[in-house]
Amino acid sequence: MSNRSTSALLYLSGVTVSFDGFKALNNLSLLVEPGEMRAIIGPNGAGKTTMMDVVTGKTRPDSGEVVFDGKADLTKLDEASIATLGIGRKFQKPTVFENHTVRDNLLLALAGLRKWHRLLLAQPTKAENARLAEILAIIRMEEQQHMLGARLSHGQKQWLEIGMLLAQDPKLLLVDEPVAGMTDVETETTAQVLREINRTHSVVVVEHDMSFVRALGVKVTVLHEGSMLAEGTLDQVSADQRVVEVYLGR
């Protein structure tokens, strides 16, 4: 618990996670500054998803420090507390609540009420309704707002999920492979949206797709076998001999 007085929004130091002897994360350290957008790349099994699990409280690290916003020790908190602190997560596969309408999905994501006893008697406030209308406009789903999540197309679900993230209004947004299985046009749009979000939020993107990472144009961290291999612009890391070896094989 040494250097907590960091200005970093997210601070990982010496994080190790092992599953039955296999080290998914091995002494990983990482810094994300406020307002930054960071891309994390790495081959399969490099520990990208495990890193996200550690930050969001799904997995407890065996050792190491994970500090959010210079004060919150994330290794001690559960998912709900971490989410309330302001860390949002978007999964690779869009997960919206299928039996809820678009509007209800957004309502559930809306920052604010989370306690069960408050929700029993809660009525939507004017501010909430205004915010919902605003988000529905941004994601262009006003017409579908009473449609069930299950009946949305894949693309609409992606948009709804982005809307939910906006509604949640996190300080830091973790995005897992947002463009997997997307067309080039969709990929381009998504990159735009992420840059848009990055104006007001810090973002960490885990991605395989190099052209997408290039389109984001941000600092890149390369993970390999649970540790950081290289860090810098995409051009810098692409020039790194070790990165080339990891990606192309020995």
């Binding site: 039955d20 296999f22 998803t49």
Partner: protein
Amino acid sequence: MLFLRPLAMLLPALASALIAATALAADLPALVAGLTTGGFGDRETAIGAMAASGEQRAAPILEALAAGQLYVRKSDNLVLIGKPDGNQLALTEAISGKPAGSGSEAELDRVRVNNRLRGVIEAAVGSLTLMSPDAKVRREAAEALFKRRDASSLAALDAALAAEKDPRIKRAMSEARAASVLASDAPPPQKLDAIALVRERADRDSLGVLEATANSATDPEVKAAAGAGAGAVRQTLAAWEAAQNVWYGISLGSVLLLAAIGLAITFGTMGVINMAHGEMVMLGAYTTFVVQDIIRTSAPHLFDASLLIALPLAFVVAGGIGILIERGIIRFLYGRPLDTLLATWGLSLVLQQAVRSIFGSSNREVGAPSWMSGAFQVGQINVTYGRLWIVVFSLIVFAALILLLRKTPLGLYMRAVTQNRPMASAMGIRTPRVDALTFGLGSGIAGLAGVALSQIDNVSPNLGQGYIIDSFMVVVFGGVGNLFGTLIGALTLGVVNKFLEPYAGAVLGKILVLVFIILFIQRRPRGLFALKGRSVE
């Protein structure tokens, strides 16, 4: 109440004279005559004389007397031993041992005994049998005298000890002698030696001897030595008792293992929750019943092999039905575990009712082959062959299953499919077929369990129900997807259960174990030996 023969009233003097004479001459007929005449006091004297005679033929007569089977025929005053044979008594002549036909109680007078006489007879038989040519009889006699600890048998024991050659029997006799010394008014040094000897025996009977001595002894040194000895014996006994409980626990654990191991396959590796698993066990038990039934009527000489014949059949029956269930119901419900639970519960009701309709709702008799009956002692642990075989069998089934999973292509496919279904499918493994076979394997093993359980449980349509909750507890406790966890889980729960029973009683013990597991699952939701990693989420 008191039955006095006229002869005894007329000839008391004659009777005592006879006894005096026969004591010297060892004349059995005269001794026996003394037994049947006079009052209880006379009879006691006569018994003492018979014991002193060393006459081997006297022992069965005295035993018959103690059992109330010694009679005098009213017509000719002949002394007879009568054993119940239907409504009649099968008679033998007491002295010669020759058969003497049969007769009814009305023609005979029973020679009466009271409790005091029974004690005297026991001691007399003991000292008589101490000299028996049969080593087993001598040994039992020594044991009987040890339990009686009667100072009056000292003389007989000394005589027998002098003549005895077998060291083990000699040991038993000196222990009996020690016990008798402690009951006598022998001087303290002798008693202290005796206490040392009895203490070495360290069983429940020697504890009784030492406790009695500690209570009754007047000499402080003897009293202290007996008390210390009793304490030591108590400790040894407690250790043996713990060992016995461990054995009972292992025995119960092996039953749990048998019931749970099939479930460890279907639930543990496939993730399919089969509430009809217990009914697969039941089907195995009924297969055993049918096999034995056929053997009884058409080939009785094969009875000892009935379980061996039933094993493969039970596997095929339960496994076949398991495959039908997988193909007919479960495969439509993959990914819906709660619905699978409900559908298989419904199936279990159907199977129970089907068996009830065919075989009736009462318990069916499944016999034990000769090699499964009987028991033996290890130290002070009582081990029955039936339980021993079930423990061995469960371990064999477990080992065979491990081998099957690790060394055969089916095992490889099964592991591949459970770890990564789409990948296995892409590599050309026919996953639906592997699913069916895996489920069939789990059910077949339940069938095998049924064969074993038919030996210790009532074979009824409800047989399976009693095991389903226990089996799930074992699998969940041990760690889902880990067969060794199931083994450890079953044995642990078995032993814990048996250790709780003496304190809490069987039912409360079971409740405590259930509560314990419920709490345990809260602390470690994935069991003792949980697989860690992303795959389990």
